[in-house]
Amino acid sequence: MLDIALVSLIQDMSEKAGVEGTIQYWIRVGENLAKRMGKEAYMGWPSFNVALREGRTAFSIEGNVAALTDLAITDVDGDVVGYIYALEKCVFEPTILRVRYSVGQLPRADKQIADEYNITYRNIAVCNFCIIHVKFREEVAKNITIAGQPLEALHLANRGFTGDTKIDEENLNKIGINKEYVRSLLRNYACVFALVMKGARLKGEVSEE
């Protein structure tokens, strides 16, 4: 019931604190959630990817995350500095279905909040919950080190419940992945993101310079 209560709360919140106020609350929740989950350290990418597959990392709270190890991200020297990951099922999807079956329809605040976020922050949200999700991943990545290096999360693409998609082309360019390829990943996954070593000299960033 907690998730249904949450949906009710966001409608209530956006009426009381405004849509922008709700976005601020969501961003803080994403930060707090990551902070409360603590730090993690791994010897290398293989051990991190195994931990992810076995559901032992903070990212596992989202559900089944697939490490697309055929999609290694390399830096300007050709060293592997990250991978692409994909979440199989949107964390908000069960809630959307439960609201559909128990209440009837999602409150209009869901779309209003996502739209406002897309205009004022980053054009990546397909529902209001993407806001916490994006922030959560960014903060969790900072708390995880691989071979002593902290990570950075780059959001690449999201697919909404009704099939609408959002793709962050700026981040795609940084890691040099084709937009159409990421779009094809969205057929099987709800959202796609990259984890890279923080400070890595990515090909896309260097060519921009």
Binding site: M1, L2, D3, S8, M13, Y25, V29, I61, S102
Partner: protein, 208 residues
Amino acid sequence: MIQRKIERKEDLLDNPMVDIATYLFLEDIADKQGAAGMNNYLMSLAYSLARSMPEEEYTDWDSFVEAIVKGESILSAFEKVNAVSKYCMVTVESPFLRGWKEYTKRIGEFPKIHKDVAEYYNSRTTPTAIETGDIIIQTYRKAAAEKITVEGKKVNVAHIATVSPDGSKKIAPEEWLPILLEKANITRTQMNMILRNNAGVWIVYPTQ
């Protein structure tokens, strides 16, 4: 109908991230507005949830109780309910159990505010809440009951006792209990027997 229920069971298990985010969202509100502010938000969201539910009408009490037990009434939309007498309902498992378990597993112990806000609610509304979730579900049940008509009469909900996932209990005050138990048509011993392996006891009854 049976087929859809099977699909729902597979698809509708809430995600732990959403549940934990909700608790953190509420804690954030409490940090800024204290127990009183959090209580207002909890009650307000329960009212708004009940408001968004469809109205119900039943031609007789038995079909109303049957709808509750089958999970077809708005009173049992979020919880599995059994009827132990004409008016006495038993919630088998807290609708917040999954969220509670995920929070304690992934985050740790719940902050004291979740109990403080329940005490605030108990001192001002109905004294049967143990933690945050109880405020939501108890307020929701009362507000949802107002949307139900049985044999042309409105129905009311009153709470007898609540059991937290950690086993702690909150029973209605001594001065109210005999009246509530009489309405429920159960004895104090029977109530204690029910509380051993259920999450709550409450009554739903027609208005006079």
